[in-house]
Assembly symmetry: C2
Homo-oligomer: 169 residues x 2
């Protein structure tokens, strides 16, 4: 008996969670292993793991202001500036002033950025093979799809929060 109310079921009326399978620690563990390998692979491309995260988020939901980006990446906005400076210097992203609100910088992936991101993803195949070696191709795709949806969900949630300003955060 599960009524899918909002996207955020804060009610948490789950009576018994069979066994508490929290993914947090595993996520942390695998992310670390992946990140360590990524650094060396990405270095020749002039990128660092965090750049890749930013590019990935931008590809998924581009055209966001920097503050929204800070919310999504959950980083301090002052540090976003440096991150975007790096990427803009390499012409992987563009900052354009929003026509509606000229204070705002709308950040978007350039073609070069999308290309570089793809290259990086290709280059990371080996790293992923090492870390996700226990999973077959289909399982990796499933994993990707789940992570992707979760990530996109947070983005939606963040922009909603910004637009609607409903949350008590």
């Amino acid at each position: 008996m599960f009524l899918r109310v909002g996207r955020l079921g804060h009610m948490s009326a789950q009576p018994l969670d069979t066994s508490e399978h929290r993914s947090g620690a595993l996520l942390d563990h695998l992310a670390r292993r992946m990140r360590l390998r990524s650094e060396s692979v990405l270095a020749p491309l002039g990128l660092r793991p965090r750049h890749l995260v930013a590019l990935t988020v931008l590809r998924a939901g581009g055209g966001t202001g920097q503050q929204a980006l800070a919310t999504i990446l959950e980083m301090d906005s002052t540090n976003i500036v440096g991150l975007l400076n790096d990427l803009e210097a390499k012409q992987l992203i563009e900052r354009r002033r929003s026509p509606e609100d000229r204070r705002r910088h709308v950040v978007e992936l350039t073609e070069d950025g999308a290309k570089r991101l793809s290259e990086a993803e290709c280059a990371l195949a080996g790293a992923e093979d090492e870390v996700l070696g226990a999973l077959g191709p289909d399982e990796r795709e499933t994993l990707y799809e789940l992570l992707s949806r979760a990530s996109a969900g947070t983005a939606v949630n963040c922009t909603e929060t910004i637009c609607a300003g409903d949350d008590s955060l």
Copy 2:
């Protein structure tokens, strides 16, 4: 452009794999979001995210020496010491000398440790709801199962490496 001669038979007729679906960046992104929330939730329990990672790994494949643990967690062994000191001071783990090789400290979860880990996982339900809100219960379980297998795979791989005597590391 890119000839895919990968190790795994990706010979499917998909014209182009749209783009290489690398989970690394998403893993990083979600792990960060989860970790930030975890810290405040875990603080009352006297734990930090990294402790949880260690406990989780130990629960999955206990009875390992510290060096093996360092390999699995991909941390410097000197820093493992401090981590385990924390956990041992709280009686969440035990260091016992191995009977076969008395130099070795075999690290294992205590009952208290297992209990505390469960408590922590319960306490993290809210954090996970926020981060994985876009996924339903089944999907979260799938995610957990995939991450779990991937993590266990690395452990196996690491111990294999140790036992078999690696070359050219």
